[in-house]
Amino acid sequence: MEQTDRSSRIAWAALLLASLIAPVVVGFDKYLIHVGIIISLNVALATSLWMIWSLGFISFAHAGFMGIGAYTSALLFTKLGLSMWYGLWLGAAMSGAIALVIALPLMRTRAVYFFMASWAVGEVIKRNFAYFRDFFGGWDGVFNIRAPKLDLGFVEVNFADRLAYYYLALFFVVLTVLVIHRINNSRTGMIYWSIHENELLAQHAGINVFRHKVIAFTIACALAGLTGALYAHYQTYISPKSFDIWKSEFALVHVIVGGLTTVGGPVAGAISLTVVDELLRATGYFRTVFFGAVLIAAVLLLPGGLETIPGRLRSFFKRSDK
């Protein structure tokens, strides 16, 4: 157990170090840094989606809540001139607040009913952005959402620069993953998984199941909102289509291919599948077909996901020792 603990700590440190020096390694290649930013955003989205899964729910509303954060931050910038430094937090807060209200009825549903209800929630959020043209810009979306600057006294960092934005996104994805990892490894996480394992018993062991479901959903959606704001100020343009059901489904696929039981799962899944997706860009029209083939292969050849690889390797080497 302790050994697993130590090796997982080493793996996290190595991953962080690799992310920090990655731009240097790729020779500050603009396209590859762009891929790096997309990876970061996907990791953050998949991890917060996984947090909802830790209570046993698969939410299809996640991209919708990402959109609430994105639109909040974008409109604060274009209409009121507030920079992303405010938009990030207000976007997360707005997403969390709306999630809290929606969770009150939503988290009373279960299994396939939750699946359908959350799908509807995500779709309604997206259609609201499209419907209220004057406020949200309709299907055309919102333009000219600029990245902020940061005056450090001796030097001014302009985050419109890709490299700077890469480190900004990295900072917030690390923050997101850290928050979720901490919660998951604490007693709170244990309570979440106990609800996942056996809700009836959890209730009768004195756990206020509904309250934990609502709080977890709210936190996860607030973090998705934060990711959304980061996305908006990077792309400089958002539209309802940016936050449709496919975005939620991709996040879910990242979680499934990465693994469902540890926080390393969604992180590994989002990194590797984003890379695969970019590699398949050359296949043009057939990209989604190949992507689908990769998914099927991953699920068939590696049940349990990427997170099971360390364990598989360990038992493989143990066997060959004998």
Binding site: I183, R187, T188, E197, N198, L200, L201, Q203, A205, N208
Partner: protein
Amino acid sequence: MNQLEIRKLTMKFGGVTAIDGIDLSVAEGEIRGLIGPNGAGKTTLFNACSGRYPITSGEIIFGGERVHGLKPHEICRKGLVRTFQHVTLFKGFSVLKNVMVGNHLHANHSYWGSLLRTPRTRRSEAESARRAREILEFVGLGNILDREAAGLPHGHQKALGIAIALAAQPKLLLLDEPCAGMNNDESREMIDLVRRIRDTGITVMLIEHDMKVVMGLCDRITVLSFGTCIAEGTPAEVRENPEVREAYLGSQANVA
């Protein structure tokens, strides 16, 4: 004063009356047996007391407080804790973790504490693990803390179910067929465990079909039949009661 007072309790599910105006009281410190033929309403009574299903009418008073209408977790917090007839565990968790979930109630828990991992949170988590170990020692599972719950033999799973309930620090423990599916040795251990639980000051009410267990273990026995209470008394009294023989055991039955 009685610890548990059930007055005129009625439970209806659609057109079916599962419990029909039962009065029942349990004194502090006793082991109460609840027997009756299948469908008599024993488990329904437990479901009512633990808040799993809303009651139709009547009152459930625990420790002088009304508990009917409360949610299961609220009733558990008041010290009225139940176990389940079928093995009900957090199957993917280790034995230790199962019990740690049970005793989270009595450890201070906050989201900020979880997030920041304050020294207080760490101390409280260590304390929780220590208490869980004690409880597992007590039920006889102290040497298999790291085993996964799903892989345990039946007897150990039943004991673990009780350990989870004990972790919530009950004043009254409702055991739904603790000896179901057990062999003689396992049964004997379970009887011993229930006695030891009572000796720590916890009142026990249990449903059991095995007459040897019920007669040997319980201070008093309540007999239910078709949702009503047809007899109550010491094991000897209940054994001699002709109505019980008639309703529960068949008129020719020879009660051991």
